[in-house]
Amino acid sequence: MALNRDTDGLLSEVTQFIYREARFQDGHAYDDWEALWTDDGVYWIPANGDHSDPERDMSIVYDNRSRIALRIRQLHTGKRHAQAPRSRLRRVVSNVEVLDEGGDEIRAISNALVFESNLRGDIVWASRNEYLLRRVNGELRMARKTVHLVNNDKALYSMSFLI
């Protein structure tokens, strides 16, 4: 059991990391966001509730590291029509908790509310985000991020920004 002070230190480091990620996403800072990933990162947005298996069931996003890179390259073309013009975004991230820590890895969760404004109109997205963070050369990196949208069992409009 870590000392309280150390735990607080870790929580604050993780929170700062998640805030920074949110800022990169809201600002469409695609390369900065991509740099937050480890080389084996997996970005997963499940569909149809809380019990789906990405190796069996359809997911909204189930990107391995090379597909994350492809997603970013597509956004950079400027011809990703669903993001041209880009969505205007502002998100609030809260309820950050460190669930456990072992070796180089940290499991953390947060809640997020994202307000998106685009050509169609305005929309709010809500999610619980799960992170597997890893310390690489002293810096935190995302090895896995799972975005559990509250309404992932319903029909959704396009979600072409980084959530």
Binding site: D57, M58, L156, S158
Partner: protein, 430 residues
């Protein structure tokens, strides 16, 4: 009052009546109001969605006795059940007592459905099995209180269709020229069957369903709408829809159409080239196909690949996935999409899912951009001048193929023109 776009100045007078369809559809033009008229949408529900054959689900979604899954026909929710005798039923999700929803779970296994309001219980064949405190119903005929049902249910190679009309053309007559697309699809499985087991993504667009339908076999758009992903993913798909492509757009009758890419795949002459892979990378699948069909036939199947066919009004077989169109309102449509799975081909199935997940759904590399176009089209069409959509591309070079179907070049608007003539015919029926 529902706004009528572009139909003239006296909007309120026209809003109540169903527009005269003959005035809205010409050989190479369609009036913009066909995508925006609320009255027309209501008429479509009656004449298309609640009358003709509509795709509902696949037998593999209810594999076991007493399985059920919630489906839909347009805005109508439908429970697809398999009873203990393996018969498939399409039941309407409305209690015959006072109209409560009978089933609110997406899927499950149950012999009966009990309405939570007053406890009426229905069997998965639709019959009313019983009600609590029956003495209050003395003299009532239980036989007449079964769940509503889709009048006709028919299957073609695992694909279940329903028609609310008691009578009419058979499913096979309705499928007509599109039947062969299903044949061509299922033979890509060494067991001759596809399965739908990965669950659906539900992707909503604020657009009329016919914009989606027409886009499915529009070979003109891919190079532009999908330029971003084609340029970064080294995809060969763009070339299939270039002006040099030998692929053809074909109208199959009864509203159905396809982009037939086989001429290109045959030119490539590479088994599994259609799927962006090779025989060497899928040895188990190739062995299973050879064993099932013999080497020559298997090679032919693996070169030709799967179809790109839109079965009117709502089933789009898109090579590696199916889309099921569900209109919810004149300007709101859901595409239900999932990966096809080839029975007896585990090696292929993961790749089918992975490719599908990358391409489609709300965040898909392809479909987020298609959906962006549907929605911009819906907004654009409401501008009052010009009033007409021009669908004349390839009129100068359209021709009949050896089967008598109208075909055009890969990027031509033969499918849309054919669909609109069919639409006019069924909308004019009484």
């Amino acid at each position: 009052m529902f706004p009528f776009v572009g139909l003239g100045d006296d909007m309120s007078a026209q809003a109540a009546a169903i527009p005269d369809i003959n005035e809205l559809i010409r050989p190479e033009h369609v009036h913009g109001s066909v995508y925006t008229s609320e009255a027309l949408y209501q008429a479509e529900l009656e004449k298309i969605w609640y009358r003709t054959w509509v795709y509902v689900g696949h037998t593999s979604e209810v594999p076991n006795a007493n399985d059920y899954v919630l489906k839909s026909i347009g805005p109508q929710p439908v429970i697809m059940t398999r009873d203990r005798n393996d018969q498939i039923h399409l039941l309407l999700n409305r209690c015959t007592h006072r109209g409560n929803q009978v089933c609110v779970f997406d899927k499950g296994n149950s012999r009966t459905f009990t309405c939570p309001y007053h406890g009426w219980t229905f069997s998965n064949t639709g019959q009313l099995r019983g009600y609590p405190f029956p003495s209050g119903y003395e003299g009532t005929d239980r036989e007449e209180l079964g769940l509503g049902r889709v009048a006709r249910v028919a299957e073609y190679k695992g694909f279940i269709f329903g028609s609310f009309a008691e009578q009419g053309p058979s499913l096979e007559e309705h499928l007509g020229g599109a039947r062969e697309a299903i044949d061509r699809l299922v033979r890509n499985s060494p067991e001759g069957e596809v399965e739908i087991t990965a669950g659906f993504l539900k992707h909503k667009a604020r657009a009329n369903w016919k914009f989606l339908l027409e886009n499915e076999t529009d070979g003109y758009h891919p190079q532009f709408v999908h330029a971003s992903i084609f340029s970064v993913a080294q995809s060969g798909i763009g070339d299939l829809y270039s002006s040099d492509s030998t692929a053809v757009a074909r109208y199959l009758g009864n509203g159905h159409s396809e982009n037939d890419l086989r001429p290109e795949f045959r030119r490539l002459d590479k088994p599994l080239g259609w799927f962006g892979t090779s025989a060497a990378r899928m040895p188990e699948y190739v062995a299973a196909m050879n064993a099932a069909y013999g080497e020559n036939k298997a090679r032919e199947i693996m070169i030709d690949g799967t179809p790109h066919t839109m079965i009117f009004p709502n089933l789009f077989i898109a090579e590696i996935q199916i889309f099921v169109l569900q209109p919810l309102a004149v300007n709101e449509t859901v595409q239900h999409v999932t990966a096809l799975q080839f029975k007896g081909a585990p090696e292929m199935n993961r790749r089918l899912r992975q490719q599908t997940m990358g391409s489609v759904g709300p965040a898909g590399f392809l479909l987020a951009d298609d959906s962006e176009m549907y929605e911009r089209n819906q907004r654009g069409i409401q501008v009052r001048d010009p009033e007409w959509v021009f669908l004349g591309r390839g009129k100068n070079r359209e021709r009949r193929d050896e089967d008598g179907f109208m075909v055009g070049d890969a990027t031509d608007e033969v499918p849309s023109r054919g669909m609109w003539q069919h639409y006019r015919t069924i909308m004019e029926e009484r």
